[in-house]
């Protein structure tokens, strides 16, 4: 893993995700091992990407400990977040959908 992008932080050797040390813009490339992966959407600091392929249902490991399970297959370098993993305890509450609807409606003059 010596070849891995310095913006990707591996917290524990068992982890199957990296944590972003800095934001990565849409269209930028990140290097994981010998792979160069183009990031489709902006990723914020502190977000996670897959260190390798993760199968639907597999545990997500960060800090060497499980933080939830994949809800679908995740490709290497893909953003790992609430759209493809879930808690094994309580569901995660987010305003992502509300914000997207708001921004779409505002752009369309509230009549779409």
């Amino acid at each position: 893993m010596t070849d891995t992008d310095s913006r990707l932080l591996l917290l524990s050797p068992q982890d199957n995700v990296f944590v972003l040390r800095a934001a990565i813009k849409a269209g930028e490339t990140i290097r994981i091992g010998r792979l160069d992966i183009t990031v489709p959407d902006r990723l914020g600091i502190g977000h996670k990407v897959a260190r390798g392929a993760i199968r639907d249902g597999e545990p997500i490991i960060k800090y060497g400990a499980p933080i939830g399970s994949a809800t679908r297959d995740i490709a290497v370098g893909e953003h790992v977040h609430i759209h493809n993993i879930k808690s094994n305890y309580t569901p995660t509450h987010s305003l992502t959908e509300a914000r997207e609807t708001y921004e779409r409606n505002r752009a369309g003059g509230w009549h779409d």
């Binding site: 800095a22 502190g46 309580t90 509450h93």
Partner: protein, 401 residues
């Protein structure tokens, strides 16, 4: 910043504890008395802070917390503001404060001529006490006499890798010097049961620590939401377990000496977990509805100050006890520099390591204890919130001798 090693001095209280501040607490005993209390402190906002309980129904938890707060080592005098018909037991609270050796006075708005005359009477009383407290003598104080709490709020994916472990380093230093450190939010330790239990001082305490987290998991599952805000997800945290593992790092590496509940005073130095989730069936809603509720419980257990690690950028402070704001995220630090005491984001940009930031936090703790103001304190933040809860007393296994 004050030099490390500067002799600390504190205000000595009758119970042997020492305060690092000497403020007047102006306590409303029901929301209906809140306005009068707020107006009373207007002329002395630095030296007199409003605390209070909004409910009109009796609640042993909030009665107990108010007693602890009104006899907190940072409090030098107490003004109680009652409407007159609320259920809060003002007689018991006044007696507890009086027995603690502090000046105390109760204004009952319905008996004392209403809003205007109650405010005037309260302002006079507070002005007299502030004058006395400002010239009160201090005595030498040792680091081992400090009680420091830690919370996190507005967490993001940086909190668990910068600010929280750096706060943990500061805790390790304090515990090694005999101070008392408290971490909390069992609802944000879900998924950490095993690693945390392995640090317990005794096997019996390990069982109690595990039970406290299991209780939290059940409680939040019943409510349908974890201790997880929408902004946590924006900041890259995906699940409560992930947030928990990051939050857990605040506790450092020390042995865990005991488990306390809000208002329990740790009997000696060491690291304590505060179990903040109510006992019994789910009642009264979410355990702590926002971050200040956690800070209030830290103070009720004697915390002189609270470390507050934030990634998204909380700006709150607290009544009675200063809050140290530790920015986990370097970008947020740039945006909110005026609110942040420490930039732990330097760990991510490679400008500092965890040990350096931990030392910086430790140094600031001593500086605050020596009288320096934190950013939120200087900005006049005095947030406070107390709501309904119910607890059973802790068992003997929680505080091994």
């Amino acid at each position: 910043m004050t030099e490390l090693g500067t002799a600390l001095r504190g205000y000595e209280r009758q119970d042997g504890r020492k305060g690092i501040r000497n403020v007047v607490a102006v306590a409303y005993l029901v929301e209906c008395a809140h306005h009068v209390a707020r107006e009373i402190v207007m002329l002395n906002r630095d030296a007199a802070h409003v605390i209070g309980f909004p409910g009109c129904f009796p609640n042993p938890y909030s009665q107990g917390i108010m007693e602890r707060l009104c006899t907190h080592p940072n409090v030098g005098a107490v003004l109680l503001v009652s409407l007159g018909c609320e259920s809060f037991n003002r007689y018991k609270l006044e007696q507890a404060v009086e027995e603690s050796g502090r000046p105390v006075h109760t204004i009952v708005i319905q008996n004392d001529g209403g809003t205007r005359r109650s405010i005037e009477q309260g302002q006079r009383w507070v002005a007299e006490r502030v004058a006395e407290l400002q010239s009160a003598p201090t005595v030498p104080m040792d680091v081992s006499e400090l009680v420091v709490g830690t919370v996190c709020g507005g967490s993001d994916g940086t909190s668990g890798i910068t600010g929280n472990p750096a706060a943990g380093r500061a805790f390790d230093r304090l515990v090694a010097e005999g101070a008392t450190c408290i971490f909390e939010e069992t609802g944000e330790l879900i998924g950490c049961e095993d690693i945390m239990a392995s640090r317990a001082r005794t096997p019996e305490l390990a069982v109690e620590l595990r039970h406290a987290v299991e209780k939290a998991a059940t409680y939040y599952a019943t409510l349908g939401f974890g201790s997880f805000a929408a902004g946590n997800a924006d900041g890259g945290l995906s699940t409560i377990e992930e947030k928990s593992l990051g939050a857990y790092a605040k506790s450092g590496q020390s042995e865990i000496s005991g488990l306390i509940k809000p208002g329990d005073i740790p009997p000696r130095g060491g690291l304590y977990l505060m179990d903040v989730v109510p006992d019994g069936e789910v009642r009264f809603g979410f355990p702590n509805i926002s971050d200040n509720a956690e800070i209030v419980e830290m103070m009720a257990s004697g915390a002189h100050m609270t470390l507050f690690v934030t990634g998204r950028g909380s700006v709150v402070g607290s009544a009675l006890s200063p809050v140290i704001k530790i920015a986990a995220n370097p970008h947020m630090y740039e945006r909110l520099t005026d609110d942040m005491d420490i930039n732990a984001g330097r760990v991510l940009t490679g400008e500092a390591d965890l040990a350096e930031v931990g030392d910086e936090i430790y140094g600031l703790i001593l500086a605050l204890a020596a009288g320096e103001k934190s950013k939120s304190e200087a900005l006049g933040h005095t947030e406070f919130i107390l709501t309904y809860k119910s607890f059973e007393p802790i068992g003997p296994a929680c505080l091994p001798v």
